[in-house]
Subunit: 282 residues, 2 copies
């Protein structure tokens, strides 16, 4: 897999070692799907990025400038039909120490990647999910933000090495399901869909938001509610989502078995496909 | 302030942009004081680094090799009498995604810095400390480790901009004092010294460990116990410590006033000075 990197619109291989993104994880990122040569769900990515930058006190150029950098990067390799572009914003180079200069120039990095290839059965038959031992920590100052502090996810994702599990669920300290290591999660209850809140931990996923927006225009209701792990066995269906995969039905979650894809999940997949999330062919 | 960087023993200015230290904060570091041309408290730094690398599944060379890199870096600039050397270990370059290859080669970075200059009165008259709004999150998987995920500290340290406060105290979600943004903390109770545990959050500071070891050989007792913020006003003395400053007495903590340096703190400073922590002249 060949990756190409850019700082703004300039190709790079390296960055200054005093970048605060490296030194302290002082920054954040977006992982945007390129489909049919276009940035998928860009407005949602741009919005999350802007909210995250406000919370971390990072200055960024207007969305149109960022979009221009992204499109120049894609164009510089002769265009990309299907791929991934990672947009990183760091607090740039700075002196040693946690304190930063107000308004210090941020660094904007872009990485262009081949799409990750997953087995087609992940969408058609559903996936197996395990419960990670590493918990997500409650931190309201960072909850929702896709920051560069991702060690929890790194540790959780490396709890298993075989490919029988596609993803791991992360719980909070109170045994509530929060998210997957790289995804958000939805459950199907009698009353409709349920997804855990992202107010104390977890990343506020773009595909989660897209699904909630799509469902608002549909006959399927969805609510944001805490989901204790011990009630997961009561749900009939479950699925994961992120910006790259769209939606994966879940067939096995820990020791629980679910219908995958179940009737509600099938309908969500159909709505998503209609909204342009082309992976969702059930 | 001129910083010089090295990868192992090779001078560098930059590093590959795909380094996982940047991408995910996937790594850790030590900040070692150089005093009289020597690495101060190296055995404690080496021990913490090794424990951290085991917990993060990072492979590192033997301590003697690391020490050799550090001494070569110091020697390459004609020697350093007083300064700071930062030793970083990242999981090196890797593909996109949280998963890493087992045994993937780590990257060893060294940064050589001028010492940070603080007012002499910080040691002689004590400092003012504020209570930060940002809390430390409870995360047993990372507690104690000086990882590259330092956004909590960055946000906490930037809650204030004036120099009247030298440091900010960070509480956990249960209102217990955990640490400063860049220091550990001790209190003087009738029964002896008390310092908060580092089992759910915080960095297990090298100077904290050194102080605990020095006191074990002394007539001053010390214990590791939770310290709820609302009992801080009951303590007669308080001090901060880290590898660079040694020890700072605290004169004001939030709205509480303390004797600084009080009689017990004076004795601790004397023991520390005798143990080679030269900043501790009261």
């Amino acid at each position: 897999v060949i990756a190409r990197w850019f700082e703004k619109d300039r190709p790079i291989d390296s960055l200054p070692v005093d970048d605060r993104g490296l030194q302290y994880g002082d920054g954040l990122f977006e992982t945007i799907a390129i489909r049919n040569g276009r940035l998928r769900l860009w407005p949602l990515h741009a919005e999350r990025l802007r909210i995250g930058c406000e919370r971390l006190d990072l200055e960024i150029p207007p969305d149109s400038t960022l979009r221009n950098y992204l499109e120049k990067a894609i164009g510089s390799v002769g265009g990309v039909s299907t791929g991934i572009i990672k947009l990183m914003v760091t607090r740039g180079s700075g002196p040693r120490g946690y304190r930063f200069a107000v308004g210090s120039p941020t660094r904007i990095l872009l990485g262009l990647f081949e799409p990750t290839v997953y087995p087609e059965k992940y969408w058609i038959q559903g996936v197996r999910v395990r419960i990670c031992a590493v918990r997500v920590a409650a931190q309201t100052a960072l909850a929702g933000v896709k920051s560069l502090n991702r060690l929890e996810q790194v540790l959780a994702r490396n709890e298993w090495r075989d490919d029988t599990c596609a993803e791991g669920l992360m719980l909070d300290a109170d045994d509530n399901v929060t998210c997957g290591t790289m995804s958000n999660v939805f459950f199907v209850a009698d009353s409709g869909l349920v997804t855990p809140p992202i107010t104390t931990a977890g990343v506020c996923g773009v595909m989660r938001r897209h699904i909630l927006a799509v469902l608002e225009q549909s006959d399927i209701s969805a609510s944001v509610e805490p989901v204790p792990i011990d009630i997961v066995q009561n749900f009939s269906e479950m699925f994961l989502c992120n910006s790259q995969i769209g939606l994966w039905p879940v067939r096995h979650c820990g020791t629980a078995s679910l219908v995958a894809p179940g009737p509600v999940t099938r309908r969500v997949m159909e709505y998503l496909r209609e909204s342009g999330i082309e992976e969702c062919k059930s």
